[in-house]
């Protein structure tokens, strides 16, 4: 067992666990007891892989970015999760979880969403399976992410507004958890990242691990080695990063770089740079690093990208940070936007603004000409066009 993966109690070093009220105990317990056995079933693996291939469009290419490489004098590969059905890596997880829910005999799905990517990915797999779907979304996010709200509705999902707290992702998560508490028997909660109580972080990471599994094979073909010198991914909750890092965690020769959103600057008071600003605490059932007041109240993060606008990180990442296995970099809104524009102009790929944060590392750090860098190109920028338009006055 990797020392960077969850132990049987869902701990990554000092992080993780299941800090949940008793009302959630049966739900998470049912999952905890069954998830590994279900995931290992042949029938499960077969259907999961089939849907990833024929429905999601996997394997996603590992694309050698010629002009980007030339510009930065190093070898750069992009793992093209932006080509996944629905536009980001999120769907790898929702496909896995909908099959899990079916195996558990669930009849109803709930999920939280911030920018709407996970909501769309969830509504999508529910349509695919013909299962009822309720998505919780902060009232403020509903109004600023209207196109994704429309997508969810078109897919037949019910979008319910979270009106509590700051009316954004954190609150949508609270509402989803409440729904689950109130519907403990027939409902499965599809969490959208490697966060939440055990076994979610581990389960989601396993579903996303297909990313690095494919990367290994593809890089071997292209470079004669499974190992890049660096893997780089942005971290909101951390699912695309978990997927991209997964099979490299124990290969210490592979450098891991996790990229967080610094918003208007790490110390500007408007930031989502959890590792830089956070302390150990409990959020959404997990012990991890999170942004909070001295009093333990969770603070509102800020980032131009809704998907990184989360006050915690998954426990795996808290562990990678504190064990120094991964290097953490904070990227501001301005740096991310510039990186997004650069990738668009150099490669014809408009990345999600979350994803753009990862690419901004190229301006922070000098790489060697024989380095091999794999970026998780976690999502496409279609959902972010309005932000690009406003920012660059297009």
């Amino acid at each position: 067992m990797s020392k960077y993966l969850a132990d049987e109690n869902g701990y990554y070093g000092a992080f993780g666990g299941a800090f949940i009220p008793e009302m959630l105990y049966p739900n998470t317990e049912e999952l905890r007891v069954n998830y590994l056995e279900i995931m290992e079933r042949d029938s499960f693996q077969k259907e999961f892989k089939y849907l990833l291939k024929d429905y999601v469009g996997r394997p996603t290419p590992l694309y050698y970015a010629q002009r980007l490489s030339d510009t930065y004098g190093t070898k750069i590969y992009l793992k093209r999760e932006d080509l996944c059905h629905t536009g980001a890596h999120k769907v790898n997880n929702t496909i896995g979880q909908i099959l899990m829910a079916k195996a558990l005999g669930k009849k109803r799905i709930i999920a939280e969403t911030g920018a709407g990517q996970h909501g769309v990915a969830t509504a999508t797999v529910c349509a695919l399976m013909g299962i009822e779907c309720v998505i919780y979304m902060g009232e403020i996010d509903i109004s600023r992410q209207a196109p994704n709200v429309a997508r969810m509705k078109l897919l037949g999902a019910t979008v319910r507004d979270a009106t509590s707290g700051s009316k954004t992702l954190k609150d949508a998560t609270n509402e989803a958890i409440r729904d689950w508490i109130n519907n403990p028997v027939d409902t499965h909660y599809i969490i959208g990242s490697v966060v939440g109580p055990h076994p979610y972080p581990d389960m989601v990471a396993r579903f996303q691990s297909v990313i690095s599994e494919e990367t290994k094979k593809q890089l071997l073909e292209k470079e004669g080695t499974e190992n890049p010198t660096h893997v780089i991914a942005c971290v909101g909750g951390g699912s695309n990063a978990a997927g991209q890092f997964y099979h490299y965690l124990d290969r210490e020769e592979v450098n891991i770089i996790a990229v967080e959103a610094a918003g208007k600057g790490v110390h500007s008071g408007e930031s989502a740079a959890t590792s830089a600003l956070g302390k150990v605490g409990i959020i959404h059932g997990s012990k991890t690093l999170l942004m909070q007041t001295v009093d333990g109240q969770i603070t509102e993060p800020y980032s131009i990208s809704a998907g990184l606008d989360y006050p915690g990180i998954g426990p795996m990442h808290a562990h990678l940070y504190s064990s120094k296995r991964a290097q953490f970099v904070s990227i501001t809104d301005a740096e991310a936007m510039a990186a997004g524009k650069r990738l668009s102009e150099l490669e014809g790929i408009i990345p999600a603004i979350e994803t753009a944060h990862a690419f901004a590392v190229l301006e922070h750090q000098k790489f060697q000409s024989d380095d091999i860098i794999v970026f998780n190109c976690s999502g496409r920028g279609d959902k972010d066009l309005q932000t690009y338009i406003d920012y660059f006055e297009l």
Binding site: I20, M23, Y25, S164, I282, Q297
Partner: protein, 256 residues
């Protein structure tokens, strides 16, 4: 077990326990509310330590928490407010909160403060049994504090028995698998669950919480348990009627 709690359960009467949020409606209402509750004949008080993300609670309690935080309540300030409380009230006092603020205060320091003040027990719904046993039980015990466990209709019998074994005062029986304030009145199913637990003849008494808003639901809840906890309904009441009307709220629960 805290003496105040053990003595309380040594009666036949159906116990009224009230939950309220510290620092709400006004920052300095905390102590006044506790005093009024005791005077009104309430048997046990749960003082809510507000949390920004109270995911086991419904909208009423969440909103009161948000307002209390906005009023300026902090863990430290709550302890200051409660500093002299034992010179004023005798009934058992429980602090109910989420684990993160406790962690940030320091579990040891938190328990020390509780002991100094004369708090009898804690309810920390998101502190799991296993964590508690492994890391915190010893600290709690050292400071004479009980941790109150919750059970729900979905909690398997085996686990109820285990919880009963570990508990040392009473068990918080969540009426339905619901966040606070979610339902009103009890279904057949609920009642069967109350009865089922009663018939398990646990060593600890039970108090029913969640969904109790009036005499009717109070009576239903207590027909198979030793009392009930009222939260959201009480918070709505003081929000609408003010804290001076606390006695009438309590009266209405018992006589109607």
């Amino acid at each position: 077990m805290s003496k105040r709690i053990s003595e309380l359960f040594d009666t036949d009467k159906k116990l009224v326990s009230i939950y309220f949020t510290a620092g709400f409606p006004k920052l300095n209402d905390t102590v006044k509310i506790i005093e009024k509750l005791e005077k009104s004949g309430v048997d046990l008080v749960e003082i809510g330590l507000p949390f920004s993300d109270p995911l086991a609670d419904g909208p009423t309690i969440q909103e009161s928490s948000t307002k209390a935080l906005h009023n300026g309540i902090t863990t430290e300030l709550l302890f200051e407010q409660l500093f002299n409380i034992r010179q004023k009230v005798k009934i058992p006092l429980i602090i109910m909160g989420y684990f993160n603020p406790v962690m940030q205060f320091g579990v040891e320091a938190f328990c020390q403060q509780c002991e100094d003040i004369g708090i009898d027990a804690l309810i920390l719904p998101d502190l799991p049994l296993r964590e508690y046993q492994l890391h915190y039980k010893e600290i709690f015990n050292r400071h004479g504090l009980d941790l109150i466990y919750l059970i729900t209709p979905q909690t398997p019998e085996e686990r109820i028995r285990a919880i009963d074994q570990m508990s040392n005062s009473f068990i918080y029986m969540v009426s339905s698998s619901s966040t606070t304030g979610a339902k009103a009145g009890f279904s057949e199913e609920n009642q069967e669950y109350f009865k089922r637990v009663e018939e398990m003849k646990l060593k600890n008494p039970t108090l029913v919480g969640f969904g109790i808003s009036d005499k009717n639901s109070f009576d239903q809840a207590t027909s198979h348990s030793q009392g009930a906890i009222i939260g959201s309904a009480f918070i709505k009441h003081i929000e609408n009627k003010g804290i001076d009307q606390i006695p009438s709220f309590v009266l209405n629960l018992r006589h109607e």
